[in-house]
Symmetry: C2
Subunit: 229 residues, 2 copies
């Protein structure tokens, strides 16, 4: 079933940088390649774009096929088009990044990819293709974006403590934040909704749980207010 065109065409793929947060670290989801090139190496989940699906559909499909993840926050990152980024042939890849929280989303070992696993960002294996550059771009994007859009809530569970939230910002921005100032600021923004629930099963005073109030945030944005940490 060959397809013929008048001019040669680059192949088009999508690749996904999936960030996840657990109690200790910011992590990225990688799959171990089952086929050449780079067989056995770790790589970003991704694959070829079908001609009848949008780029986002392709990214979501590959993500589900290779890692079992679905319904995640997903945003386009950048398109990588260097000539030799794939040794087989000319491939242009539209990269995406996703944010998930590690508790809600269990990753199931992939079917056509060898294995999927989370890696801490400061303990990464060597990556296939130009995936190290893609990951680096995604990290910079996340760092930039988290400062003025409340994007990070995607990484937290639905109910979270202020300390969890602070730790998330510290991981992403890679610097320490002052506890009192952080609380003053985020509570002052009016997008956090206090619940009457508290942490369970902790060996110290249980912290209050909050949830992100998206409606309040949308109202704020409409009024031109901006969210900054």
């Amino acid at each position: 079933m060959p397809y013929t065109y008048e001019h040669p065409r680059p192949a088009l793929t999508v690749d996904c940088v999936v960030f996840g947060l657990d109690d200790t670290d910011l992590k990225v989801l990688l799959i171990q390649r089952g086929i050449a090139p780079f067989k056995g190496s770790w790589a970003l989940p991704g694959g070829f774009v079908h001609v009848d699906e949008t780029l986002e559909e392709a990214a979501r499909r590959e993500l589900e096929e290779e890692t079992g993840l679905r319904n995640v926050f997903l945003e386009q990152l950048y398109t990588f088009g260097e000539l030799k980024r794939d040794p087989r042939e000319r491939i242009v890849s539209v990269a995406w990044y996703a944010l998930v929280n590690l508790r809600d989303h269990k990753v199931q070992a992939a079917t056509d990819a060898g294995e999927a696993a989370w890696f801490s960002l400061d303990d990464l294996p060597t990556l296939a293709f130009d995936h190290a550059a893609i990951l680096d771009t995604a990290q910079q994007r996340l760092r930039g974006k988290v400062r003025y859009v409340p994007i990070g809530f995607e990484l937290l569970p639905r109910l979270f403590t202020l300390t969890q939230m602070q730790r998330m910002y510290e991981k992403i921005l890679d610097r320490a934040l002052d506890k009192r100032n952080f609380r003053k600021k985020v509570l002052g923004m009016g997008v956090l909704e206090e619940t009457d629930q508290v942490q369970q099963d902790v060996a110290h005073r249980a912290a209050r749980l909050y949830r992100f109030n998206e409606a309040a945030y949308k109202r704020m944005v409409k009024q031109g207010i901006n969210f900054e940490i």
Copy 2:
């Protein structure tokens, strides 16, 4: 000379949003399409990516072929991949935006495109394909970016007055800025170099000319300082 692949492939194009600044307005460069579809309509300059050139090379080549522009500031914007964005077939387009100043860069009528012309952003014709959406994305990006990177100097002549610079920011951000505060702020950043030249041929007191000191800016960035208006 047909090219055959196992699976059907989307075609890949680049499109460029070229912003220019003159004394009165922020403008965008459009070309009038000489062929169907949308023959006679105005569109962004762009075209197919060759298999042996990078995406940026493709964008620069198309820009020169269709508008005569070269050596401009160019950055990737976003990749548009909706299914029906082109009525002919599935085409994915990597969009770029460029910044030029209208005095230095004379636009010559294109060869294979009908005609190239500058349009004020608030007086645009109907655009072909999804180019209105692309332009809109570019405008938002410019607005966001100009606030924390000294990107706007690409729009100004090499030597410029503070009033010209202020007007540029006002056009991009679409709001008035206070003259005294603006000057205090931009001079305080230490990236403007005062020259001993002044405006020529003006019917009032001539303003001092400044130039952007890129070396000083790079030094600042290395030290982690950020540029904000």
